[in-house]
């Protein structure tokens, strides 16, 4: 049932100059972040998250969602232009996109990437808007024990599907749970696990954690790459020359329509993959590309055709909206970006979850409107400035790394003007580097960190209701028992059948093709 008053209020909030400006800024930064190799949507959102507490709800959501949409599309720009995907999501775009570029059809490739991204993104947003409230209605019927097991199931899924090694995924999740227990406990506010350090009494704040893990960790890795690579100097003069010089064959409306099947595949695959915790847009792009290749062998996807670009780009952008479904319906972020958007909502005083539809309908409607409106900005900014961004991808990394590191310090401190947050961010930066080196996925850590207090609250509420009876608190309904069995089965199946490993083998083959494309370049 639509709450019309809340909808009108959301329309009044979203369609203001300020919110529109922040969506535009978000998309502009996002496309740039995506186009620059080494920066990802997660890094960009982690860096921008501390700034959102100064903005109102609609503006904050506009900035982050705009950035997310822009970054997922932006990765395709450098993938097509230089065969160097700006983000891993765009790796599948290289196969056909860069071949088109070398044939002098770069403009056509960039345009189909943009149109396929926006089309699939928009339609998947509509599906999100239809599905999330229905799932939230179901979730509202869950009691504390069902919610506890649902969180456990989500963590197991994340561990099973993130990265290529089940144990590493679960290790990351366990680390997140451990870090989440530092500081006052969520029910009685008794300090614990502080290692006798007074500045940990308040716990680890989310912002220094995510900025450290995602931004500082990534930049430290870049520092090591740059310092160990053969000494190369980077001249920044001339990088901005010929910004608008890309010429070539454009894209006709008929050609756009000819890719309908690939866009539909991307939409279906991306929406499904986006809703599952742990998979993400990279898997969405590769699966969509693979399915399109199988379904239409006559189109010779892989040989440099626009249909290949459309399938990959529709597949990755179609995950953008659906990745928020588990967050909104169950309060469980399914990806690192969803966790960061959930964190932004918490900073604004709204805890994501099924009750949000009742308690904060204006925020929910604003979010839905921003998801839709963001596509128009993505289309406009991408259409006008794609060629400028293509040149931005040539900016040397040595210029970028100190900038991002400086922004990380500013972000960690600006959030609460607490110097210890900077120290925590630096420590987590080092941990982020170690995780990257060992290929331990970061997303399960951040998501479990966010879920830890909720899981504890639900378990303790269950104990309270059942007067300390643990078995009744954990297994008080057939659904709770079913979810518990699913957790055990999933853990067993994941460790035996190596789901994550097999998923990565699919990507592996595609990566080999990317390397070949780069070598040809």
């Amino acid at each position: 049932m639509v709450n019309m008053d809340a909808l009108y209020e959301a329309i009044a909030l979203v369609f203001t100059f300020q919110t529109m400006m922040w969506i535009a800024i978000g998309v502009t930064i996002g496309v740039g972040v995506g186009a620059m190799p080494g920066l990802t949507a997660t890094t960009g959102i982690a860096l921008m998250l501390p700034l959102t507490f100064t903005l109102d709800q609609a503006a904050a959501l506009g900035l982050l969602i705009g950035l997310y949409k822009g970054a997922i599309y932006g990765g395709s720009i450098s993938a097509i232009s230089f065969a160097t995907p700006g983000t891993s999501e765009a790796a599948a775009t290289v196969f056909d996109g860069h071949k088109l570029m070398r044939r002098g059809k770069g403009k056509k490739a960039l345009l189909i990437a943009l149109y396929a991204s926006v089309t699939a993104d928009f339609l998947s947003d509509v599906i999100t808007i239809l599905i999330a409230p229905l799932l939230a209605l179901v979730a509202l019927k869950f009691g504390p024990s069902e919610r506890f097991w649902l969180m456990a199931l989500a963590v197991c899924l994340l561990g099973a599907l993130s990265g290529s090694h089940f144990a590493k995924g679960m290790l990351s999740a366990a680390l997140g749970l451990f870090i989440g227990t530092i500081g006052a406990d969520p029910v009685s506010s008794v300090p614990r696990n502080t290692f006798d350090l007074w500045w940990l009494g308040d716990g680890i704040h989310l912002i220094p954690l995510v900025v450290g893990i995602f931004a500082m960790g990534a930049m430290l890795e870049k520092v090591l790459e740059l310092s160990t690579a053969k000494r190369q100097t980077a001249k920044i003069t001339g990088a901005f020359k010929n910004l608008f010089s890309m010429s070539g064959e454009g894209l006709s409306f008929k050609e756009y329509l000819s890719c309908w099947k690939e866009m539909a595949i991307g939409l279906g695959v991306g929406t499904f993959v986006g809703m599952l915790p742990g998979l993400g847009s990279t898997v969405g792009a590769f699966l969509s590309y693979g399915v399109a290749k199988q379904v239409s062998p006559e189109k010779k996807i892989g040989s440099g055709v626009i249909e290949g670009v459309a399938a990959a780009e529709a597949g990755n952008n179609a995950t953008v909206g659906p990745t928020l479904v588990p967050l909104l319906a169950f309060g469980i972020p399914g990806s690192a970006v969803a966790a960061l958007i959930g964190a932004a909502l918490m900073l604004q005083g709204a805890t994501p979850g099924p009750r949000m539809f009742e308690l904060f309908p204006t925020i929910i409607y604003s979010l839905f409107l921003i998801l839709l409106v963001g596509n128009i900005f993505n289309l406009g900014i991408g259409r006008i400035f794609a060629f400028v961004y293509a040149k931005l991808g040539e900016l040397p990394a040595p210029l970028l790394v100190p900038l991002v590191m400086g922004m990380a310090v500013i972000g960690a401190y600006a959030y609460a003007n607490n110097p210890w947050d900077v120290l925590v961010m630096l420590i987590f930066g080092f941990m982020g580097l170690l995780m990257r080196v060992m290929r331990i996925p970061e997303a399960p850590l951040v998501i479990t960190f966010l879920l830890a207090p909720q899981a504890e609250e639900n378990l303790r509420r269950g104990l309270l209701i059942n007067e300390g009876d643990w078995s009744a608190a954990l297994f008080n309904s057939p659904l709770a028992i079913g979810l518990a069995v699913a957790v055990v089965l999933l853990t067993y199946v994941s460790s035996r059948m190596r789901i994550a490993e097999r998923m990565s083998e699919i990507s592996d083959e595609q990566e080999a093709e990317t390397s070949a494309a780069e070598a040809e370049r």
């Binding site: 700034l51 100064t54 903005l55 891993s88 790796a91 090694h165 144990a167 679960m170 290790l171 999740a173 366990a174 680390l175 749970l177 451990f178 989440g180 227990t181 406990d185 029910v187 008794v190 614990r192 696990n193 990534a218 430290l220 890795e221 520092v223 740059l226 310092s227 160990t228 190369q232 100097t233 980077a234 001249k235 990394a397 040595p398 210029l399 100190p402 590191m405 400086g406 310090v409 500013i410 110097p419 210890w420 120290l423 080092f430 580097l433 990257r436 080196v437 060992m438 290929r439 504890e456 378990l459 303790r460 309270l464 059942n466 007067e467 300390g468 460790s495 990565s504 592996d508 990566e511």
Partner: protein
């Protein structure tokens, strides 16, 4: 450290101790030792056993997570991927970690200089007082950023510092616009 992140290529490794320690088994054994120490430390803490309402002990989730970390690491010692390593790990040397730690220390020093705020109020204050213009974002940011760009390979030196000054002024202005005041002794 050259292999790009996101590449899923893994390699099996054979050779001496230094090669073995880079495998999943080697790193997992080291982590297992660390988590075992953590587990012992936790089990000796009184707060872990503090009983809350209805039999819930305060350390339940903390000990559960430490046990899960230990189990995950031990399973990595014996699982199918135990002899594999990541390309980054196979090339990692102790000096790389030293460089990363140095970069973090430099960022910490940058923060102290640019914000005139610090982690240890008592002993650092007299030292900071002797340094002119601490708390001047517009001075220390271009110095640290320009030096960082130069060290990482931006040439010539002039370009690195010009880029750093431009970026600093843009960041300072943009943050002012959105309501976050960055420290400036000169402009305050």
């Amino acid at each position: 450290m050259t292999p790009a992140l996101g590449s899923f290529t893994f390699m099996s490794i054979s050779g001496g101790t230094s090669a073995w320690i880079r495998t999943n088994r080697g790193t997992a054994l080291i982590m297992s030792a660390v988590f075992l120490v953590l587990m012992i430390y936790l089990l000796t803490q009184d707060w872990v056993y503090d009983q809350q309402r209805y039999g819930f002990r305060l350390g339940f989730f903390t000990v559960l997570s430490a046990a899960a970390m230990l189990i995950c690491c031990l399973s990595m010692v014996f699982d199918r991927q135990k002899d594999q390593t990541t390309p980054e790990m196979s090339m990692l040397k102790l000096r790389h970690l030293g460089r990363a730690a140095m970069a973090l220390i430099i960022m910490g020093i940058y923060f102290i200089f640019a914000w005139n705020d610090h982690f240890a109020q008592d002993w650092l204050r007299p030292i900071l007082d002797t340094i002119p213009l601490t708390g001047e974002f517009l001075l220390w940011t271009p110095i640290f950023m320009g030096a960082g760009m130069y060290l990482l390979g931006v040439r010539p030196l002039r370009s690195a510092f010009i880029a750093a000054i431009i970026i600093t002024v843009v960041i300072f202005g943009l943050f002012r616009i959105i309501g976050i005041t960055l420290p400036s002794v000169l402009l305050s």
